[in-house]
């Protein structure tokens, strides 16, 4: 029979208070970041009715907006903005391109609607070939650093179209291609009618 000499008292843990506070704050901070990331992943930032944050689109030369190589969303308040994400490597984009261009031709001289083509992660020579191939004439530019697509939390693929109303709120989201110019016009027309 062996006897353990008196060690039946639990030793007191002596982690300093400041270290405990620091550890808990750090853990809570990390959990907060994780929760924010999960929330962001599960809920798109942009949904119909939400205000669209300002963004600046750098345009391809030859596809300027009133001669300017940059266009800011905030400068277009009072106009309906059709933001169309596309890429030269995207087959469905090629399918809808003539319809989007046809719809643009309807509103081009009205001054009430602006179309912005945003070339999503693409190479410029192929993008230019695409623009020429479909005779696209509305302002177009690359999504540099994918900054604009991040605003729309656009991660479902191209094409996608976001229609912003004249007050700067998101009015309509189209995931995938439009089937006809009339389909696009049926969304835009009620937005500009009455004025």
């Amino acid at each position: 029979m062996s006897i353990q000499p008196g060690i039946n008292s639990t030793p007191k843990r002596n982690v300093p208070l400041w270290a405990q506070i620091l550890i808990w704050l750090g853990l809570l901070g990390l959990l907060g970041l994780l929760a924010a990331g999960l929330l962001r992943a599960s809920h798109p930032i942009m949904s119909v009715g939400s205000r669209v944050p300002d963004f600046t689109l750098t345009l391809f030369s030859g596809y300027e907006y009133h001669g300017a190589l940059q266009v800011k969303r905030s400068e277009l308040l009072g106009k309906v903005i059709v933001v169309n994400f596309w890429a030269s490597w995207c087959q469905p984009c090629a399918g809808e391109a003539p319809d989007v261009e046809a719809a643009w031709k309807v509103y081009e001289h009205s001054g009430k609607v602006v179309f912005l083509g945003i070339d999503y992660v693409d190479t410029e020579p192929e993008a230019r070939t695409y623009l020429t191939q479909f005779a696209i004439s509305y302002p177009n530019g690359p999504d540099l650093g994918t900054k604009i697509s991040e605003i729309f939390n656009r991660n479902l693929g191209v094409p996608e179209t976001y229609i912003i109303d004249r007050q700067g709120f998101l009015h309509y989201i189209q995931i995938g291609p439009f089937q006809s110019a009339a389909e696009l016009q049926s969304i835009i027309d009620p937005m500009i009618s009455g004025n």
């Binding site: 006897i3 000499p5 008196g6 060690i7 039946n8 008292s9 030793p11 007191k12 843990r13 002596n14 982690v15 270290a19 550890i23 750090g26 990390l30 970041l33 890429a87 030269s88 490597w89 992660v121 693409d122 190479t123 192929e126 690359p142 540099l144 650093g145 994918t146 900054k147 991040e150």
Partner: protein, 173 residues
């Protein structure tokens, strides 16, 4: 004889001159970069569209376009760093295999080593405390004489039960 040697010398010089000039012009050209050279850079980048697919093995048309772009930039004399920077500027930081060391991304680089060091510190503290709690074998109390506790030992104040047990054992011997 002397004249023919002189002529021969001129002919040799002319031949040498014509043989050197094209060689120079060839060396001045930028050779088309090989697939290996392109893939060496492409393997350090990720497809901006397909998630977690390195650019050198990505089979999509988009990735083929990007590999062609790398080839073109290499032919223009751009360095690997310049090409990578171009990709980050145009397609975002997600093309890099690891997040850039800026802004909130620093957390990724700071938190793990800090957590590791904190863990080491806490373990050290815990071991230190445990070591204090275990009595040194050299200073073990003399259990043969319950009336003479080891001074300074944790068991200086005897448990009555242990004392009684020791007394019983003593009586048996």
């Amino acid at each position: 004889m002397k004249k023919s040697v002189y002529l021969l010398f001129i002919v040799i010089c002319v031949i040498l001159m014509f043989s050197v000039v094209p060689a120079r012009s060839i060396s001045a050209q930028q050779p088309t970069p090989s697939d290996d050279e392109v893939n060496a850079i492409a393997s350090q980048l990720f497809c901006p569209v397909c998630q977690n697919t390195p650019l050198d093995v990505c089979p999509t048309q988009a990735c083929r376009q990007w590999r062609d772009l790398i080839r073109q930039m290499l032919a223009e004399g751009k360095s690997a760093a310049e090409i990578k920077q171009y990709f980050v500027t145009n397609y975002g930081a997600s093309v890099l295999p690891e997040p850039p060391r800026s802004g909130i991304n620093w957390l990724i680089y700071i938190v793990p080593p800090v957590a590791f060091l904190l863990g080491v510190f806490l373990l050290f503290q815990a071991f230190h405390t445990w070591k204090k709690a275990v009595p040194d074998p050299g200073s073990a109390p003399d259990y043969t004489d319950p009336g003479k506790p080891d001074p300074g030992s944790a068991s200086a104040v005897k448990d009555p039960y242990i004392s009684q047990l020791e007394d019983e054992l003593k009586k048996r011997t």
